[in-house]
Subunit: 210 residues, 2 copies
Amino acid sequence: MGDQKPILYSYYRSSCSWRVRTALNLKGIKYETRPVNLLKEEQDIPEYENLNPLKMVPTLIIDGQILTQSVAILEYLEETRPEPALLPKNPIDKAKVRAIVQSIVSDIQPVQNLRVLKHSGQGSNWGNHWITLGFRAIEKQFKETAGVYCFGDSITLADLCLVPQVYNANRFEVDLTEFPIIRRIEAQLNELQAFRDAHPSNQIDCPTDS
Amino acid sequence: MGDQKPILYSYYRSSCSWRVRTALNLKGIKYETRPVNLLKEEQDIPEYENLNPLKMVPTLIIDGQILTQSVAILEYLEETRPEPALLPKNPIDKAKVRAIVQSIVSDIQPVQNLRVLKHSGQGSNWGNHWITLGFRAIEKQFKETAGVYCFGDSITLADLCLVPQVYNANRFEVDLTEFPIIRRIEAQLNELQAFRDAHPSNQIDCPTDS
């Protein structure tokens, strides 16, 4: 296990790839990036589909296995590389972190993502609408859970999901003034090296003119 | 812990409530159902919002705590009531089950659900489109993972998520002929008492004329 350097199939601006990049960085796992250009629909190429029948990013090759779905990958990394911990120990606390994670990865991101937005025919209003609604929900969750970060004062999986979602909020020109906790947490996270290194602008497939 | 009977705030036809009902049944946890009528927007009533700021179902009150988000609840039940196990022991196998779970709970259900469907203005074509696409992905996952059930021959969290999704597929008149594995697994699951008891038609808030 773990003899070969893990390979991450990633797209620089994909929220789901970004979550996994941050986890790998926080846990100090060196990996190789293989870009999959979603704009060129490289996820549909048969060689990639053989790896990931979902035709989505990310795919992580690690421990001789092919893993898909960002949350499943995050949980796997947490279980096999438990330090530093990205979930609290107590089952109730863990459930609260996972509830924030699901609020982002189920209720916000999949609804505002590119393929759904395109199909809606409603342009960026569509993304703005769903992120605003979703942020109202998580801002309320944070009133109960937040310390320095989304859940208390340690970084958890919830933080890894929040940062890309705020980036998308900015792309869709969501008015963030009504979300002071979200803004504060995101600003703090973006100061950290592991988060900076995972940012789209620091990926090898980020266009130089963007 | 566990002295008071758990209370599940549930809507009979909600996929997310249904997943949790099935887990409670499989693990032999007796609970009280409190219906929240989504058609009457009872999830927006302040008393309910105080319990669940997300204004969604389900909410589970258990061990003196208020839990939200179905997947976070399923993981909590698995951790605190591990028998019968609904996740494999091996981390890789667990990641594969969680990948199926996420394919349903992130990539299909939230996109086809009522609030998003309404906002799309595209009626039931919207639901049909996203379930068909999503089922193509999970049918491919099942070619690798399925035995009697979604992952091998034991019931896992993936099965709990599949059954409500097939029910919705039927509501949106998705042509299931191209998904033989999904159809076979769902038919088998619906034979089991825990699944039958969790079915919408057996809920106290199911209208008698439906």
